[in-house]
């Protein structure tokens, strides 16, 4: 009981102390910024109004009976109990309404399925719990992680305006171009959704799905993963930045250059301090959600790294777990997700943070060699 009481008081406190700028009272779907999303919005409004009109007609008859045909008012019941004409009519009329509804729905669907003749192809891969965007023709790719801090989630600090909907590296696309998305997943099924585009498609491990969009207005568009994918399903937002074409081209050139720099970093000699600094950042994005910022983990599902036997002693085992993951558990293989530099930095960080002071440095070259040995 004690624990419950404590939790309850914390909960009540959180309710009373809440001074956050809370949301709005949005009632309806928003039209969006693409042709598809506008067509969907029109379909949605049409079917909604059809339902409202039918509903009003049916309920009007019902409420009339409820008010007028009451026993308490001495109303004597009629005895009719069938009428073939009426029955046929209320079978045929709804059928006709449905046919009328199906026509625009079919047209929209055919349009949405036409992903041919795209200008840009982006491969979207769902991971537990982040997205990877690979620009197939430009030969670079990167991960997109949620930026919201654990402190915000656990109500320790004020929540940001874009709470849960902000990422470190958004997808960037040019306006006015047909962008084709090829979706797949690394582990479980995820679903990639940007409401303003009217695009939602499942990312399924081992299979590739296709969809597309053409955004007319520059802006930042936010969405979320919409297929339950495990613990942090709520924490893998989708952010897409639509920019004018020139800006997009500059951004692509910059990405390609930084991919090149990343390769050079592997060659560089790293000091413990440099690796620790980089490792802390990488740890916060890749590891902290499960193993916690202070390395204490959440046993038994997520073991503590602080004071862990493996982390303190066995370097090979540590490399193996981080690079290859632990099959059958929530620990993923980070070998393909992080660069050699980040892998080295994370491992070094884990071996030297939170009083784990081993003083050992694992270099990017060591990681590179380890990966190639396998």
């Amino acid at each position: 009981m004690h624990v419950h009481a404590k939790r309850a008081s914390v909960f009540m406190g959180a309710c009373l102390a809440s001074n956050q700028a809370l949301g709005d009272w949005t009632l309806n779907m928003a039209p969006g910024v693409t042709g598809s999303s506008n067509e969907i919005f029109d379909l949605h409004m049409t079917i909604l109004w059809i339902c409202v009109v039918i509903g009003i007609a049916v309920f009007a008859v019902m409420f009339w009976s409820i008010f007028a045909h009451r026993k308490s008012k001495g109303y004597k019941p009629a005895h009719f109990h069938e009428n073939t004409v009426v029955e046929v009519l209320w079978t045929i009329i709804p059928f006709v309404i449905l046919v009328v509804m199906a026509i625009p729905a079919t047209a929209t669907l055919v349009d949405m399925y036409d992903s041919s003749e795209s200008d840009i192809d982006i491969k979207v891969t769902g991971y537990q719990w982040k997205w990877k965007y690979d620009y197939l023709n430009e030969e670079f790719g990167y991960f997109s992680n949620m930026k919201t801090s654990q402190d915000e989630i656990y109500n320790r600090i004020q929540k940001n305006e874009h709470y849960l909907l902000d990422v470190d590296n958004p997808m960037v696309i040019p306006v006015g171009k047909k962008v084709r998305f090829l979706l797949t997943a690394n582990d479980v099924i995820h679903s990639w959704w940007v409401p303003a585009f009217g695009v939602k498609k499942d990312a399924i491990p081992g299979f590739i799905n296709e969809t597309w969009t053409r955004v007319d207005e520059p802006g930042i568009y936010r969405g979320q993963c919409t297929e339950l994918c495990g613990r942090n399903h709520a924490y893998m937002p989708v952010v897409v930045k639509a920019v004018p074409e020139e800006e997009y081209n500059e951004w692509v050139a910059e990405q390609q250059a930084s991919a090149e720099r990343e390769r050079e970093l592997t060659e560089k000699d790293w000091s413990l301090e440099e690796l620790m600094e980089r490792g802390e950042q990488a740890y916060q994005t890749a590891c902290a959600a499960c193993h916690q910022a202070d390395g204490s983990g959440m046993p038994p599902a997520f073991p503590a790294l602080k004071g862990s036997q493996m982390v303190l002693e066995d370097v090979q085992a540590h490399l193996d777990v981080v690079v290859n993951g632990v099959p059958g558990s929530a620990m993923q293989a980070f070998g393909d997700q992080l660069s050699e530099v980040d892998l080295a930095a994370v491992i070094t960080y884990e071996r030297n943070a939170w009083g784990n002071d081993t003083g050992e440095v694992v270099t990017p070259k060591q990681v590179f060699d380890y990966k190639n040995e396998e």
Partner: protein, 528 residues
Amino acid sequence: MSAVIDTHDQDHHHGPAKGYITRWLFTTNHKDIGSMYLIFSFAMFLLGGTMAMVIRAELFQPGLQIVEPEFFNQMTTMHGLIMVFGAVMPAFVGLANWMLPLMIGAPDMALPRMNNWSFWLLPCAFLILVSTLFMEGGAPNFGWTFYAPLSTTYGPPSTTFFIFAVHIMGVSSIMGAINVIATILNMRAPGMTLMKMPLFVWTWLITAFLLIAVMPVLAGVVTMMLMDINFGTSFFDAAGGGDPVLFQHVFWFFGHPEVYIMILPAFGAVSHIIPAFSRKPLFGYASMVYAVGAIALLSFVVWAHHMFTVGMPIAGQLFFMYATMLIAVPTGVKVFNWVATMFRGSLSFETPMLFAVAFVILFTIGGFSGLMLAIAPADFQYHDTYFVVAHFHYVLVPGAIFGIFASAYFWLPKWTGHMYDETLGKTHFWLSFIGMNLAFFPMHFLGLAGMPRRIPDYALQFADFNMVSSVGAFMFGATQILFLWIVVKCVRGGKKAEANPWDGAEGLEWTIPSPAPYHTFSTPPVVK
């Protein structure tokens, strides 16, 4: 249940066995088994409801306050499984056990020993399922739809226990369904032709066929999971040549008829209650029967409308969209017939009628959102958002559950021999009605504004309606304790109920005394 024990023996048969164990554990009496099913289902309703309260408490505000995401996912999963398999389905089997023999003039169910077994399997199955909450790694956390590979490669160790529990529930359901079919087809009183059967009997007959058709499919899909997890097969693992989407096809081939299994018996019950309190015969009996048949048949060819975003070919999308929209036609016929039954009747609004009228109105709202979801392109925006959560709670809570409440109030006088407290009954209705709408209507808005389902934490723009929804859910949840009190009070005493306490009710069940004697219709009545 003392009221049943008190019953003096009208037909000069022996009464219930003496002793608690022999009376309840070994009973083959349809009334005892019906009561046990109903009590069990209400216990599960409270348990599943408690889990819903945890969910709504966590969602009261953005951020994580009460539970961690792992536990939240266990709550959503267990809430769904317990409500579907533990609360709604057993409640209808309980009603079937009590009422089918009384409605068709049979002395008992056709297979009374199997009846006993199919009930007692259920507590075993749910003991196993609920025990997973206390296992290392926790209970199933992959949603009640348990999509692979989240439930196979990435599932907790307790998944195998979950599979075993589902197998046992399936066996129980199949045996229950066989019993219903055998009873209805073989044991009707002389003169009761198929087209003279009461609608509750008709809807249960069709439901039983649905159960027999799809429970083996559910057993099949969980067995494939079992093989994938423990025996190295790759039905759902792309790395071994399998396909995660295959899981969804098999699951929803079970899952869509399953949603009709949960609503058709309620259709039947409401088709008794509305005429009774309208004092006017049911409008369009034959078309009601045909509509239920049409809905049941169509339910086998619409499953992939749950999967519009998995990347089916366009021909598949179009087929499933059209087939799904078609279901609106027979469903519409049913609603129109209920309204036509009320039209120019002589209406009074006792508690069963209040629940039945709310059923028609709110189920229709759930039907409208279902029609919207059937439009495949629009579904791309609705899919896996709170709009879907709103939709299926509108068809299941005021649909299935209000249907069960209406039935319980309608037949309580027959079961206990006492009238329930009308004032308390109406209070229960109005608090449930307001709480339920407050809880679930705002979910439409949340879904349209873009809130995904199955998340323990959400962006700030969803905060206001979530708070409203939680308040409504707490209200609805607390109100159900009142129902428990009403039933206990009614069992213990109250105004004596006549054989037919409702002046407009018709059917064989109202020709026998209240409470119904332990053995009824040992000599079959003759139906003209």
